[in-house]
Symmetry: C2
Subunit: 213 residues, 2 copies
């Protein structure tokens, strides 16, 4: 980060990459951060850059293009939801290569392109603790991300930080996903955005920022 202002207000302008910055959550996080930072969005097919998070080569190419950044947020990644009786290893592996390894690879590769006090913010989800029906694959992925973040926070060099935001059912996703999550409280988008801000602009490190209601 270029440095802090002397009057105590937070004015440090950061260069922030948001992978998934064109999705439901990512675009609102991007809109908030863009008022005071340089925001670059990356998506699978749209965004300032395109990236396939299942490909190490694609991730590496993205970071090479960006050079040094101050924060990398990931709100991208999907995993299998479906009938437990018939779910098989291939269903699960697709999500592992996407939301789980995709985010881990963003860290393993991206750490070499992060400023000395930059941060990663990954996205897990409430399923890690409170899985819904049909959600055992996503539960596993989210639990894996949370524990990876605890460990990676100990390993990152210098003043680099890493956190996970763990969203519940976001109000903006109610129409699309609500029927899959009966009894889950809706999360106001403003609260969820705040968790990403806390991770990027705050000092927290190695935290699972749970936003469940």
């Amino acid at each position: 980060m270029p440095g802090s202002s002397s009057d105590g207000t937070f004015t440090t302008k950061m260069k922030i990459l948001i992978v998934g910055g064109t999705g439901t959550i990512g675009k609102k996080v991007a809109a908030n951060l863009a008022s005071r930072h340089e925001v670059i969005t990356a998506g699978r097919t749209t965004g300032d850059l395109t990236v396939d998070i299942t490909s190490e080569e694609s991730i590496r190419y993205m970071f090479e293009t960006l050079n040094v950044i101050d924060a990398c947020i990931c709100t991208a990644g999907t995993g299998y939801y479906g009938d437990f009786e018939t779910m098989n290893a291939q269903d699960i592996n697709t999500g592992i290569q996407n939301k789980l390894m995709g985010q881990i690879n963003l860290v393993l590769i991206g750490k070499n392109y992060l400023s000395h006090d930059g941060s990663f913010t990954l996205t897990s989800g409430i399923a890690a603790e409170h899985p819904a029906r049909n959600g055992s694959c996503v539960a596993m992925i989210n639990g894996g991300i949370n524990s990876f973040v605890l460990a990676a926070a100990q390993e990152l060099k210098g003043d680099k930080r890493i956190n996970a935001v763990s969203p519940g059912l976001v109000e903006d996703s109610r129409e699309r996903y609500g029927a899959m999550f009966p009894g889950y409280n809706l999360v106001p988008m403003g609260k969820l955005i705040n968790a990403y801000l806390l991770s990027v602009e705050g000092a927290v490190n190695g935290k699972i920022l749970k936003v469940y209601s």
Copy 2:
């Protein structure tokens, strides 16, 4: 399970598969259970049966051989420990296909060979919550197993159960692994065995049985 005795003591003899039953932990769990149950051990190269838990075909063949069982314990599975700076996706994927997907596949395939009130007991580990240096891959795997168990407990049909035992540094592993875990309390093997007994012979379901000291 064939049924309970009428005098209230626990005498139901179960047919119990222990994958990893020839390893440090598994062989002691096997020795304890063998005093009152039929125990079948499976290992990669030794045991009553051999199985490669990275192969769905091998797992399916093992269960076909056994027909119906009352409990499946897994104490097998390895994941990458090593320098975070140089760790890459391939290092991690090896552990994903072994300890993580290996155990998940035991459940997804094995549930069709489990008696109506049978149980699965998987093994995660303290790294899910308290990762050691170099342990981010194993932390992720253990966290993934824990969350999978929470979800799978909701999904299994009938009276089937599933739990995870999460061991700390076991006293029997002190010589082999102790140097990797400075400051970790040693877990008495008797306490760890008890967690497996609680899962197999008790009524608990969807629990992470933490044995950290």
